[in-house]
Structures are given as C-alpha cells and as structure tokens.
C-alpha cells in the first residue's frame, strides 16, 4: 500500500456467496492454513442476498443495542443490525475460534498487491477505492 487512505467498497448486489474472499483472507493471514473462521471478512447469507461482513457477528439486542428493528425495503424485511453495522459503536468483532484473538482487517498491509480478498473476488462485489490522497 502507498500510504494513501483506502477503503473496501462492498456491493452486495454482486456477491455470489462463493466465499473466495474468506479463503483468501485466511490463507494469507495464517501461514498456509485455510479456515474461514480465521478470516477477517465473512459472508453472511440473508434471505435473498449475500453480504460480505468485516465487523463480527450480530450485536445482541438487549445487551448492546436498544434500537434494533426490522426494516422493510422493497417488500423484503431486513434485520437492522445488518444495515447499520458500519456505524455501530458497539459492533462485535470476529475472533479466532481456538485462541479467541480478535481478528481485524488490516487491508493486507504486508502484501504489496493489496487485500487478498479483493484479488480473489471475481464477481466485483469487493473493490478497493482510494478515498484520500
């Protein structure tokens, strides 16, 4: 990476649910092991689409989120937890299944090629965008 500010843009309309991004992430972060539970990106299956998530599993309603609601968009009902994760102050984080070590996306800063998930994604669901020089 070149020191500029990047973001991973997610287009849920394009995600085919193939989970190649999870595989790539776990491969480059775990010294040759594949285990999507060690990936920093995970695909969750919603009713009619797949959603790549980079911010851990759901926030429990009663403990951490008092405003979680169901939202209906175009006749489909979605769990609001999915929709507002990006700005949720209490959002949980993925953890290693055995050690419990938190897993956070580091944009594969150690790879000159950039994030492995984007390199493996052929559907166009994941894109690297530069937001600041």
């Amino acid at each position: 990476m070149d020191g500029r500010l990047y973001r991973i843009q997610i287009d849920t309309n394009k995600c085919t649910g193939c989970r190649h991004c999870e595989t790539a992430c776990s491969l480059v972060h775990t010294e040759g092991k594949i285990n999507y539970h060690r990936a920093r990106i995970r695909i969750i299956s919603l009713e009619d689409r797949f959603l790549p998530l980079m911010a851990g599993p759901y926030v429990p309603v009663t403990q951490e989120c008092a405003s979680k609601k169901l939202v209906t968009i175009n006749g489909k009902t979605y769990d609001q937890c999915i929709l507002c994760r990006a700005s949720c102050p209490n959002k949980s984080i993925f953890k290693e299944p055995d050690s419990g070590i938190p897993l956070k996306c580091d944009f594969c800063a150690f790879r000159p090629e950039g994030p492995a998930c984007i390199e493996f994604c052929t559907s166009g669901a994941l894109n690297l965008i530069r937001i600041k020089e």
Binding site: T16, G17, L27, T30, K33, N35, H37, I44, E119
Partner: protein, 441 residues
C-alpha cells in the same frame, strides 16, 4: 500429509456409535478423493443391498480455494449397484473443516433423525417431527435450534417426502439447492431414517506451498477477469446450441450464485430460490416436452418441495411414456399425476423400468442424449471425459473448464499436496465418473 485431513468419520445409526478413524495415507494418495475414493471405500466396506452404507468422500482440492473446488462425492447402494454423484455448493468443504475427508454412515436409526456434525460435537438427533417436512422446512427446523449467526454457518443436506418414501427418483437438497443427478440417493437416506446431515467445521486445513498456491490462483483469476465477457458469451452460445430458448426468460433478473470458491457462478437464484440449472432445463424441455416457462417452474418447484431429482424424473417419465402410450409428453397434468401418485410406474425409476419392461435400448438412447448435451457444454466429450474423471477425484467442478485451464488445476494440486498429479496411474486404477453420472435411476 497436506491436501487431506486424513480422517474418516464413521457413524452407526442403529447403535449411535460414532468413531473417528485414520485413513491409510496410501489409500488417499492412490484414490485421491471424490467418486473414485468413495467407490474404493464401498468396495472395502463390502456394501450391498443388505449392508448399505452412505459414503461421502471429499475431493483433494475441495475447500482449498482452487476455483470450482467444492465437490464432495456421495454414494450408496441403490437398486443393484453402488451409485455415486458429486455434491455441489458448500457442504463438502464444511466437512473438510470438521476434519474429515470421508464419512461412512451405516445402520438404521430407530426413529427419524438427523446427523449433526458441529465442530467436535457429533450427534444423531432423534426428531420424529422432522418427518414429512420439505427439504427447506427441514433446513429451517435445524437452523432454528441455533443462534442466527451459528444457524447461518451450518450447511445442511436433506431429503424430502420422496426420500422418506424411498422413491427411486428421490434426490438430495443442499442448502436450498436441488442436486441434479442425485436421483436414488434420497431413498438411501430414507432407508436409514436419516432426514438430514448438518455440518459446521472450524478446523484448519494446511497447504504444502501456500504462497505459491496464492500466486497461481491470483494469476488464474486475473486471466479469468480479462476473459470474463468471452466466457459469458460462450455460455449463451451453449444455451443456443442446446436449443434452450426459455433460458433467457427464466434467468431474467436473476442473481448469480457460486459454489465455494467458484468464479463461474453458474447457479441462478431469484427471490431466495434457486432456478433450474442447464441440465434440468434440457431434461424438462427435451425429455418432458415442457417449453413454457410457467410449466417448467411448476414441475421444478414440485421437485424441490418433494426432493425429487429432475434428471431422474425426466428419464423415468420418458420410460413411462414408452410403456404406457396413454401418457403424453408435454402433458403437465399427466406429469403431476405421476409424481403425486407414489404407486405410479414413475417412482420405480428409469433403470428399473428399463429392466422390467425390456426397454433397455430405449433407456440407453436417453442416456446418450444426456451425454451428448454434456458434449455441447464441455466440447468434445471424448477429449474432456478423462479430464472430468480426474477433476472429480480432485473435487473440482467440470464447469470450471469454461473459464480456467486444466493445467491450473494440476498446478494447484502440486502446491496443495506437494506431490505431482500422476494421471496415468489414476487411469490404471479405474477412473469412473461419467458412467456413474449417467446411470439415471
């Protein structure tokens, strides 16, 4: 050992015994995986009608991230021989992440049950209330027992009512996807009172040369991206050549879905339901004589609800037509009546009807028509047949050849296992894939 987990899970449904066994390294290296390994294990286990066992065998590359490597073979003794077909989607890889290359299910559960392989926890769960549920209802029943997040991660293989009734047409449904060519295997589940297998694994899987593997796959994906348009054009041409005019209408506004690690993503979904695949469309149009979109979807939805393999259904229906001339091809009411009547000839399946009514030549003709349709998809079948056998042992879907070179798969094998792929010795061990795939029941 790289490439395999080296373990088999043996479950006895009669006495509830669950054992983990080490698989001989030599067996894995010689038979690799997929249908070839499943067939060898069936031979070693002396599988017969009286001693029927369900065998699942992952491909070597399944779950590694090699494009299209998502297949897991599943087989059982059906009618008069061991029948094996590849399972698509995500379940095979999940099994590998549970730490198993092979699963052997024997015995018969005292009541209707489902098998749960959840990390280290392996249980046979009795659930009489699961009987009579459709595959999708079964999936919901199992998932509802867990938190939303965990339920989402569980992969489920299930049967419908036809599997329970041990119909020769009964197929399998994997996470909402009807597995075509699985006709007959649903009845093996039914025989064992096994409604479903639910799997979720969190174990690591090690590669021999991970960084080289990433380089090979990255390069192949880059190349795929550059030629993507050409590949979709090629798929459209295939549909034209197969004379499937409804494809465009059926797939209009649908969304592409991929099996684990598959960039081709040839599955199509609309409003959270999978749409019929090329082969199913070909069977419904060419064999059942259904050309109207609405009719195709009606029959497909019945298949989905009852857990019927559409390919087995089409072949059997054509055989019924050959026996009973009063049944007309293209008559949707007639087809529905045959499906809903559990005692109809249709539920005996094509292979048995061919034998009983001496129409074996006609049956062979149907098999040839299906083989020819695969020839249109994959090019010269004679040339690619051998490759498809090998891809099956590796757990790689043959559709990957539409967008990736065969050489890439061989290189992936080398970096995953640290060994060279010896195609010649595989041939000598009796590769068998197409024969299995086309003995429709």
């Amino acid at each position: 050992m790289f490439g395999w987990q080296g373990k088999a899970l043996r479950i006895n449904l009669s006495n509830g015994l669950v054992e983990t066994e080490l698989i001989a390294e030599e067996l894995l290296e010689n038979y690799l995986g997929g249908c070839m390994l499943a067939r060898k294990i069936a031979e070693l286990e002396n599988i017969s009608a009286k001693n029927n066992k369900l065998i699942m065998a992952n491909g070597v590359l399944t779950g590694t991230g090699t494009p299209g490597a998502a297949l897991c073979a599943i087989g059982a003794y059906v009618s008069s021989e061991f029948f094996c077909c590849p399972l698509w989607y995500h379940l095979g890889a999940e099994l590998k992440f549970c730490g198993y290359d092979v699963v052997i299910i024997e015995g018969e559960a005292p009541v209707w049950s489902y098998l749960l392989v959840l990390d280290d926890e392996i249980k046979i769960i009795p659930a009489e209330e699961i009987k009579g549920l459709s595959p999708i209802e079964t999936e919901n029943f199992i998932r509802d027992g867990y938190s939303k997040w965990l339920g989402n991660e569980i992969r489920i293989l299930s049967i419908g009512e036809d599997g329970e009734n041990q119909s020769a047409l009964a197929g399998l449904v994997s996470d909402g996807l009807l597995i075509s060519h699985s006709g007959g295997l649903g009845s093996a589940f039914g025989e064992k009172r096994l409604k479903a297998i639910a799997v979720r694994g969190i174990q690591d899987f090690k590669l021999a040369h991970a960084s080289k593997f990433v380089d090979i796959i990255t390069k192949a994906i880059q190349n795929f991206r550059d030629n993507k348009d050409h590949i979709y054009e090629q798929m459209c041409n295939i549909c034209k050549e197969l004379n499937l005019p409804s494809v465009e209408k059926i797939y209009h506004d649908s969304e592409k879905r991929g099996c684990l690690g598959c960039p081709i993503a040839c599955l199509q979904q609309k409003q959270d339901k999978f749409l019929p695949h090329f082969t199913t469309l070909f069977c419904f149009m060419d064999l059942l004589g259904l050309y109207r979109l609405e009719e195709i979807l009606v029959i497909y939805n019945i298949c989905f609800k009852k857990g019927i393999d559409p390919v087995a259904l089409s072949i059997a229906a054509r055989c019924v037509r050959e026996i009973e001339k009063s049944f007309k091809i293209g008559d949707i009411e007639g087809i529905i009546n045959l499906i809903t009547d559990q005692d109809s000839l249709l539920h005996k399946g094509g292979a048995r009807l061919a034998q009983e009514y001496n129409i074996e030549e006609f049956f062979k003709g149907l098999k040839k028509a299906l083989n020819d349709h695969l020839g249109v998809i994959f090019g010269n079948l004679e040339e690619v047949n051998e490759k498809m056998h090998i891809l099956d042992t590796l757990g790689v879907c043959p559709y990957i050849l539409l967008g990736f070179p065969y050489e890439m798969v061989k290189e992936a094998f080398k970096t995953v296992t640290g060994k060279e792929l010896d195609e010649e010795s595989l041939k000598n061990r009796g590769l068998k894939w197409m024969e299995d795939y086309t003995v429709f029941r």
